[in-house]
Point group: C2
Chain length 178, copies 2
DNA sequence: TACCAAGTGCACAACCTGACCAGCATTTCA
DNA sequence: TGAAATGCTGGTCAGGTTGTGCACTTGGTA
């Protein structure tokens, strides 16, 4: 399981994803019409994509800026070796303004995405972050503009393996792939 | 316009968002049952959240790792002043592996999120990025682990102003808003 | 050749959606 | 104090959609 082998999308999958991304409110039936395939096919594909984890879900996408958090920043944290990442991560997860955090290469640190209501507010959030003793230092970078908003479709397309015929992603043996 | 005053969610809004985030496939009717309000109310709230831009949409969330892009990295680009951000952004947007890009404070540069199939593949992508002459230098940071996966719910909760009564965000007149 | 996976088309009942209504409570304002 | 506006409730309606099961066809494999 977790089988990295299924990692192959055909063009129908890609089109389906693109279609759903473009018009999320449409249903399975509408998709089948647009893609010119049977409804059952769309249903089956969708189920598979969900089962494989390619599509994680259809949650509402919230725009932080629309609820007052217009400032985005990336903060790199240098943490004390004695504390460990997990403890720091636990601390960070208590702060709502921390939208995500990754451990990264380099000085063995953390990179997190922070939002705030204003630059002043950002200071407050950062103070809150560094108040934890496991954190030695924080260096903040403010995002001025979003040159490329988060997107995945181009990637989906580039990951597509052309054949549009039978779904046969998994002919005889479906593993071996990777 | 963009009325920063509408930027206020009450607890019903927050609960609705949380509910949708938890179980995206449920419909308006089911929401109204769960939240113990009339269906029309849920519909109205949802419409308003969408209209205000708080909820951007319900697109499928794709997991890059599930389609073979298991390596995530953050690349900081130093760009030549002579070229400007936009030209570079245009170049970047041609590369599917670039999932997002922001201009940032500091040396007036760009921070982007890149995925790749492997570390070797990452090298390929980076080479492709720096092939553009407007880019002077790229420094790459690889994300080793996702300590806090992208999340917004805590933020939504913290942005909530409790009163559960009338939405009256925009008092007497409701138009003027957008 | 027989088998299997995948797709097609069809049918059914159950359900949900969008639209509409009148009634009621609360707040705002004259 | 009374009128108007706003939001929520609970109900109806027709029409479309979903989930499911089934028979049939197709292409590749053992």
């Amino acid at each position: 399981m977790t089988t990295a082998q299924d990692v192959q999308l055909d063009s129908l999958d890609a089109e389906l994803i693109a279609l759903l991304a473009a018009e999320p409110r449409i249903g399975v039936l509408e998709c089948s019409r647009r893609l010119r395939v049977a409804r059952g096919t769309v249903q089956a594909r969708l189920d598979k994509l969900l089962a494989r984890g390619v599509i994680r879900g259809f949650g509402p996408e919230i725009e932080p800026a629309a609820i007052g958090f217009g400032v985005t920043s990336f903060v790199t944290l240098e943490i004390s070796q004695r504390y460990g990442h997990d403890a720091v991560a636990a601390h960070l997860s208590d702060i709502p303004e921390v939208l995500e955090a990754h451990t990264i290469t380099g000085s063995g640190d953390l990179l997190c995405r922070i939002v705030a209501r204003s630059n002043t507010d950002l200071q407050r959030v950062i103070d809150q972050i560094v108040s934890y003793e496991g954190i030695v230092r924080a260096s903040t970078i403010i995002a001025l503009a979003e040159q490329i908003p988060y997107r995945v479709l181009p990637l989906v397309r580039s990951a597509t393996v052309n054949p549009r015929q039978a779904g046969h992603t998994s002919s005889t043996r479906e593993n071996n792939a990777d």
